[in-house]
Assembly symmetry: C2
Homo-oligomer: 397 residues x 2
C-alpha cells in the first residue's frame, strides 16, 4: 500500500512539463508541509473550488491526509492538509568540512532520523559514497522503512555547484573541486540527486520551517569560521550560472587588502570571518579556542571577546549594506556559530547596515529590514538539503 | 468591434487571481509579442495540445492573429501568434529630469507614436498631469484610435517607487519625493497605473525587445550623468520593498569618500558617474560639454577623453564585480549615454570585473557573463514603461 502511493507521488512530483492542477497542488503540499485549502489556492493560483475537488480526490487515494493545527489561544483547531507521511521519504545529506550528516524526513515534513558521521579533513568522494550509503541503509533498516519510498537525496555542499553539476573551484572540502556530484552518488543510491551550496540550503530551511516562513525576499548571512550567504527573491533561492549567487563573504571591501582563498583581495570574510576572530582571540588569550567557546565566553561577560564580536558585526553590517542597496530585502536572517551571540553581534550589525545602505530609517514605513537569528543554527544545512527534494530545487540531470 | 475585443482582453489580463489556462496564454502573448505555440507551451507550462485549442478559440474571437516570422537565411517562414493589434493600446510615460516622453504601442508590441515634451527642471505634478494628458489626447486623435482601447499607462520615473506607490526620497526630479503616483495621474487618465524606476523599465525593454531577449538572469547598468541599474532574476525584474533594488550606483566603494546626494559616502556614482566626468573634462578643456559630446570626441580620437572613459569603465567594473559575486548573472547590459563609447568603456570594465569578482575565467565553461551594449540607448526607459503594462508589472493599487 505504502509503495503504491509513493509511486503515485513520484509520478506527480516528476511530471515536470505537464503543469496539471493536481501536480500543482501536490507540489504546493510537498513544498509547504501542512497547509489550509485557502493557502494552497493562493500558492497555486487555482480557484478555491478546484483545490477542494483535487484535495478530496487525493484524500480518497490516500496521498493526502487531514491534520489539525491549533494556533496559540482559544478557538477551534483549523483543518490543514498534508501529504500522507507514508507516501514517501526524502534524505538530506551534508558534505561538510570534516563530517557528513544524514537527515531522513517524510513528505509531511517530519524529521525521522538525524545522524552525524565524523570524517577526516581530506575525505574523498569514494569514501563519502561508501559511508553515506552504509548510514542510509542502517537508518532505513532501523526504522523499518522501505528504501523504495525514497523520492530523492539532497546534498548540501561546502562549495558552489555549477549548472553542470560539478563542484566549483574554491569548495572548502579539499579535493572535491570539479567533482561531478551526480556521477559520484547516483550509481550507489539509484535515486534522483539534488544539490546546492550549504548557505542556499540553510535559506531553504529557514524559509520552509524557520525564521523566514512567509517571507518572499530575504538574505541569509551565515557568520561562522567562513562567511556564506544566500539571497531569496520572489520566494526562490538565487543560484547564478556558477551556483555562487549570495556569496556575501566574498564581496570586496578593500582592493589592496589581504589575499583571500578565493583568489581576490580584501574580501569581507577576511575582515570579519570567524577564522580571523579565533586567531586574534587565541593570540590574546594564549590558548586555543573554538568559535562556540568564544561566543559563550563573550556572553558570560568577557569584555575583550565581546568587543571582537561587536567589531565583526560592524564590518559585516557594512558588507550587508551593499547587499541591501542591491536587493532591498525585507529580512536578514543571521545563522552560523556567531549568530548565538545574538545582540552582541546583531546590534552593531543593524547600526552599520543603517548607516551604509541606501534606504534609510524613515524612508519607508516600519523598521525594515528586520534582523533575526535563524531558527536552526545546529542543522539548517542538512534540513535544507531535505528541502531541496521537497521543493525540487537543484535537481542534477 | 475593436472595442468589444479590448473589453475581452481587459477581462483576461486583469483576471489576476483566477489562473485559467486561457488567461495564461493571453498573458504570455501580451508579455512576449509574436511567439510560436511551442514557446507559449514552454512559458505557461501548459500542454502543447491545450495551447493549440486555446489559440484556435482566441483566433475565432479575433483576440489573436497569426503572423509570419522569418529567421535569417533560407527556409519556410515560421507561424507565430500575437495579440490582435486592434485589441488594445498601452502607453508608456517617462517622467525624466527635464522632460516627459510618451510612447503609444498596440498590444502586438508595435510602437505607434513617440512624443517628447521638454519641461523646466523643477516641473511639478500638476503641470506634468496637464501636459501629459493633453499629449495623450492629441496622439489618440491624430491616429484616430479609441481612448477606450487604452489598457493602462506605465510610468518610468527618475526615482524609486515604494510599495505604497509613493516616490522615494532621492528621486532626481526635485519636488517629487513622496508624491503618490496613482493619486496624481489616475483621476486625469481614468486607467490602471503602473510604475517603476527608469532603470527597471530599461531592463524590461531590453528583456522584451532588445539585447537580453531570452536571458532570464542579467544586470542592466545605466551609465549616464547618474548611474542606475536593474537586476533581473528568473525572468523577473527585482524591486525590493522600497523599490530601490538594483541601485548599483549607490554601492559604497569608500567609507571615507565624498558625500553623495543619497546621504552616504563614497558611492560608485561619485567615482565614475557622468556628472563627475563632465566636470573633469570641462576643467581640462575650458568649455562646457555634454556627455554625448564627450563620448563623440573620445570616439573621434581625443586621447584625454578616451582615458577618462577607460578609467570610469575600470571603476564601474569593480562595482559590477560585487554585483557579480552576489548574483552571478549571465549577461551585463550597458545602457545610458556612456554606452555609446562601446569598447572604450566596455573593455576596461570587463577586465576589472574579471579581476575583482568571485567566479574567474576558466571556472565555468564559456566566457560569462557577456558584456553587451543595450539596444535602445535612446528610449529604453519609455519603451519599458509600455512593457510595465504589457507584463502587468508594477501595478499601483
Amino acid at each position: 500500500m505504502a509503495n503504491m502511493i509513493s509511486d503515485d507521488l513520484r509520478g506527480l512530483l516528476s511530471e515536470r512539463h505537464v503543469d496539471s492542477p493536481v501536480a500543482r497542488v501536490v507540489r504546493a503540499l510537498s513544498g509547504h508541509g501542512a497547509v489550509s485549502a485557502a493557502q494552497i489556492a493562493r500558492t497555486t493560483g487555482l480557484a478555491r473550488s478546484t483545490v477542494s475537488t483535487i484535495l478530496s480526490d487525493l484524500k480518497r487515494s490516500s496521498l493526502v491526509v487531514e491534520v489539525e493545527t491549533r494556533s496559540p489561544g482559544v478557538g477551534r483547531p483549523a483543518i490543514a492538509h498534508s501529504l500522507n507521511p507514508e507516501a514517501g521519504t526524502c534524505l538530506g545529506v551534508l558534505l561538510g568540512r570534516n563530517e557528513a550528516r544524514v537527515v531522513l524526513a517524510d513528505v509531511a515534513h517530519n524529521v525521522i532520523a538525524d545522524v552525524a558521521i565524523p570524517l577526516e579533513r581530506d575525505y574523498r568522494p569514494e569514501k563519502a559514497t561508501r559511508v553515506i550509503k552504509q548510514t542510509i541503509d542502517n537508518i532505513y533498516k532501523e526504522h523499518s522503512l522501505p528504501f523504495s519510498g525514497l523520492l530523492g537525496v539532497g546534498f548540501a555542499v561546502s562549495g558552489a555547484i555549477a549548472a553542470n553539476g560539478r563542484i566549483l573551484r574554491g569548495a572548502s572540502i579539499p579535493g572535491w573541486s570539479g567533482v561531478d556530484l551526480r556521477a559520484t552518488f547516483e550509481p550507489a543510491l539509484q535515486k534522483p540527486i539534488f544539490a546546492d551550496k550549504e548557505s542556499n540550503c540553510a535559506a531553504l530551511a529557514e524559509m520552509m520551517w524557520g525564521a523566514a516562513v512567509g517571507v518572499e525576499d530575504f538574505v541569509l548571512f551565515k557568520h561562522d569560521v567562513t562567511i556564506g550567504g544566500a539571497i531569496v527573491a520572489n520566494g526562490r533561492v538565487l543560484s547564478g550560472y556558477a551556483g555562487t549567487a549570495g556569496e556575501v563573504g566574498h564581496i570586496m571591501l578593500n582592493p589592496h587588502g589581504d589575499l583571500c582563498s578565493c583568489g581576490n583581495r580584501g574580501c569581507l570574510e577576511l575582515e570579519c570571518g570567524g577564522s580571523q576572530m579565533i586567531s586574534v582571540a587565541e593570540r590574546r588569550g594564549g590558548r586555543s579556542l573554538t568559535l562556540p567557546i568564544l561566543v559563550q565566553e563573550a556572553l558570560a561577560g568577557d569584555i575583550g571577546l565581546r568587543r571582537l564580536i561587536e567589531d565583526a558585526g560592524d564590518v559585516a553590517g557594512r558588507g550587508l549594506a551593499t547587499v541591501g542597496t542591491l536587493f532591498n530585502p525585507r529580512m536578514i536572517v543571521i545563522s552560523g556559530a556567531l549568530a548565538a551571540a545574538d545582540d552582541i553581534l546583531l546590534a552593531p550589525m543593524r547600526a552599520s547596515y543603517g548607516k551604509y545602505t541606501l534606504v534609510k530609517s524613515g524612508d519607508v514605513d516600519g523598521d525594515l529590514p528586520t534582523f533575526v537569528v535563524g531558527k536552526f543554527l545546529d542543522n539548517d544545512n542538512c534540513l535544507g538539503a531535505v528541502g531541496l527534494v521537497l521543493r525540487h530545487h537543484g535537481r542534477l540531470i
